[in-house]
Each structure stands twice: as structure tokens, then as C-alpha cells.
């Protein structure tokens, strides 16, 4: 099993590197950064860069801050943290407690179960109820596209892993078959990085970081940077009507979730 885990890690690294080179995303990222540096109204210093990196890590990565839809955000957090717990505990059990001679502490398998169930909860909730083509477009939840490779292989891997663990614990028949299916699904999950959305866990934080940098240096991808928060802007003639208005006016059209038909 240790060899298998090592191969999966190599597959993810190789797949991500291939994806980065094939799409030219890293080159685009650094080119864009260089361009915004020359166009920026002000230079972002080292301290500010660190603060932006921390904000990106805390808000955009750890708290999935980019999601506007609260249900999507919650489902993403469940899936993300579930997957991390599930992955770390799997690696721990495979490398630290590989044989019966080194018994696994009770907490580790419990966390493994918890992580797996969190992935299932977040993942199936997303798959059956939150996805835009099901929730808003009225499409069937069983319509599968190549874009679903990541979520489906993740759900298949974790679900089959949980069923296999359950059957093995109960000594039920079919545990070997389930284990074989679990290995196939896991290999697809980690081996199909160039064709799936797996690499989003690497490029999304980079994109969020870049977005914050462009705001800080004033380019903001040509988006307006004026805000009512700024006391100077509050003095504008056009802001006269909002002089006594609260700073938080609540949600406008976003009070209702989009329902397309």
C-alpha cells in the first residue's frame, strides 16, 4: 500500500505539472503579475504582500471565501476539510501503522470515518441539490459530463472506501471486490489530474492571491475602485442622497437565489 500511495502522489505532481505546462497557466500568472506591476498605481511592498498572502490563505482558501452562495460554500467546506482529514489519516495509517504489530490509535480510524462522511455529505449534497444544472436549470442529477470527473471519482473513491471498511470490519463477503473498485476509483481520482478539476486546489488560491494583488496595486483588472467607505468619496455631490443612509443596505437582487425558469 505504501508503494501505491507514493505512486498516487507522483501522479498528482506529474499531472499538475503537465496541466500547468499544457495550459500555460503559470506563465500567464507571472506575465499578468508583471504587467499589473508596470500598470499599477502604487507598488505593493513586501509587508503588504505577506498580509495579502495571509488574507488569501485565511479567507479564500481556509474559509472558501470566494463562494457567494452560502450552501455552496458550506458544501465546499465539508468536502474540502473532509478530504483533508480523510487523506491525512489514510497516509498516517498506511505509513505509521502498516502492520498489526503497530496498532493504530483509536482516534485515527475514527477521524478517517469522519473525514469520509464529511466528503460524502458535502459531495452528495452538491451533486444532487446544489449544482447549477440541477438546482436552477432543471437538469437530471444523473446526467454526467467529463467536467464531473473530479467530483464523481472523489465520491466514488470515498464511498467505496467507506463501504469496504465497513464490510471488512463486519467480515462480510465482497470486501475484496469492494477494495478492487476502491483502488480503481482512487487511481482515477489521482491519475486523471490533467483532465479533471483536481488541480483547482492549486490554481484557485493563486488566482485569489492575484485578484487581491490587483486590488492592492490599484489596477483591479480595470474594475472601479471607488467605494462609499472612503470619507473623501462621501463628500461627492452624487453621494449627498446617501448621507444618512446606513453603510449596509442589505442585499438587492441577491436576496433571492437564481431560479432560471
Amino acid at each position: 500500500m505504501q508503494g501505491y500511495v507514493a505512486i498516487m502522489v507522483l501522479l498528482v505532481v506529474a499531472g499538475t505539472l503537465f496541466d500547468v505546462i499544457h495550459k500555460g497557466s503559470a506563465r500567464y500568472f507571472f506575465d499578468n503579475w508583471r504587467k499589473s506591476k508596470t500598470k499599477g498605481a502604487k507598488e505593493v511592498g513586501g509587508g503588504e504582500l505577506v498580509s495579502i498572502a495571509v488574507q488569501t490563505a485565511v479567507v479564500d482558501v481556509l474559509a472558501s471565501g470566494e463562494f457567494c452562495n452560502a450552501r455552496r460554500r458550506l458544501a465546499h467546506l465539508l468536502t474540502m476539510y473532509g478530504f483533508i482529514i480523510y487523506l491525512v489519516t489514510t497516509v498516517m495509517m498506511v505509513f505509521c501503522y502498516p502492520t498489526a504489530a503497530t496498532p493504530t490509535p483509536e482516534l485515527v480510524p475514527q477521524l478517517w470515518w469522519l473525514g469520509g462522511l464529511m466528503v460524502c455529505l458535502g459531495g452528495y449534497w452538491f451533486w444532487f441539490f446544489i449544482r447549477v444544472d440541477v438546482a436552477a436549470e432543471g437538469g437530471s442529477p444523473f446526467r454526467v459530463m467529463r467536467a464531473d470527473l473530479f467530483i464523481l471519482s472523489l465520491l466514488a473513491s470515498v464511498t467505496l472506501g467507506l463501504i469496504w471498511a465497513f464490510l471488512q470490519a463486519k467480515g462480510g463477503a465482497g470486501a475484496r471486490v469492494l477494495f478492487g473498485l476502491y483502488i480503481v476509483a482512487t487511481t482515477v481520482l489521482f491519475g486523471a489530474v490533467p483532465w479533471s478539476k483536481f488541480a483547482h486546489m492549486f490554481f484557485k488560491p493563486a488566482a485569489a492571491f492575484e485578484k487581491r494583488i490587483t486590488k492592492a496595486d490599484g489596477t483591479a483588472e480595470n474594475l472601479p475602485t471607488l467605494s462609499r467607505d472612503d470619507p473623501e468619496q462621501q463628500k461627492r455631490h452624487s453621494m449627498e442622497l446617501l448621507r444618512d443612509a446606513p453603510m449596509d443596505m442589505g442585499l438587492g437582487i441577491k436576496r433571492e437565489a437564481p431560479r432560471h425558469y
Partner: protein, 159 residues
């Protein structure tokens, strides 16, 4: 100048699909991101551009009157109740605008029609429209002025 979507920014929330008056913003069935299915039917109302929470929609200018290097981008900040525009000219000139889009918190000024008494037969027969303001009825009393209706002329744009 039809709209287009930055696919890496779009998260497929569907606000643009709901708001498009031409019904030409759709969710792509394969990638689950929004796209303009019929750019030549887009009348550049900017509704989707303003509604997009990720600022993932932009408007492509035709090269003859919106030359390369220009940019017209908008940010609708509902929580602050403002809309901001940044216009960049080809020569680098930049113009920034900030205007209110509401003066009261959202949803507080919606008339509760269910609580209003229905129109009488006389009102139905009348040529006046429902809730037509009294002060434009020239048949009622003398000449109506701002003063007689306790109104005040305000400088600037009145909402």
C-alpha cells in the same frame, strides 16, 4: 458590443441568466459556466455585467468606435447601495464615477399592495391611473405648484 464571460472567474451562480432581458445568458451544459448564446441579440443593457457577483462578465466593444486599449467596467455594490464605473480611454485618460442606486435599505420601500383597499367603481371608471399623484390633477382646485404641494426643487439627480 455583446457581453462575454471570463470563464475562470464565473462560478455558474446563474444571476446573469435570471436577469438577462433577452434570455441569451445561459449556463453551458458541459462546463456549468455562463455564456452568451446569441451575442448579436445582446442589446448591451449591462444588466448581467452589474448582476455578476464575481465581475466575470465584460462587454466587448466593436473596434470601430471602441478601439483597443479602452475599458468600461462597472461594479454594483448592493451592500453600500452604490454603483461605480471606471472608464479608461485609449490614451490612458481615466474617469471614475460613483452614484447611489438606492436611498433606502433594499426591500424596505416595496409597496404592500395586498394591504391597499381595492379600487371603487368610480375609480375604475375614471381616466386616472392607479395612485396617480393628486398634484397633477389640473381639474382639482387651482394651479398646482411645488409650493402648494409642499415640494422642494432639489439640486442634482433626484431619486
Amino acid at each position: 458590443m455583446p457581453t462575454f464571460v471570463y470563464m475562470t472567474r464565473c462560478d455558474g451562480c446563474g444571476h446573469c441568466v435570471d436577469i438577462c432581458p433577452s434570455d441569451i445568458m445561459h449556463i453551458d451544459k458541459t462546463y456549468r459556466r455562463a455564456y452568451n448564446i446569441e451575442p448579436n441579440m445582446c442589446w448591451e443593457c449591462y444588466s448581467c455585467v452589474k448582476a455578476c457577483p464575481q465581475n466575470a462578465i465584460d462587454v466587448r466593444g466593436y473596434a470601430d468606435f471602441a478601439p483597443l486599449g479602452h475599458s468600461v467596467r462597472v461594479q454594483r455594490d448592493e451592500q453600500k447601495g452604490t454603483i461605480a464605473w471606471k472608464i479608461k480611454f485609449r490614451n490612458g485618460t481615466e474617469k471614475n464615477f460613483l452614484s447611489p442606486i438606492t436611498t433606502k435599505p433594499w426591500g424596505t420601500a416595496i409597496p404592500k399592495l395586498a394591504e391597499v383597499a381595492g379600487p371603487t367603481q368610480e375609480m375604475r371608471d375614471s381616466e386616472l391611473l392607479y395612485s396617480e399623484p393628486k398634484f397633477i390633477r389640473m381639474d382639482d382646485g387651482g394651479l398646482h405648484t411645488l409650493k402648494s404641494n409642499r415640494l422642494k426643487m432639489k439640486k442634482g439627480v433626484a431619486y
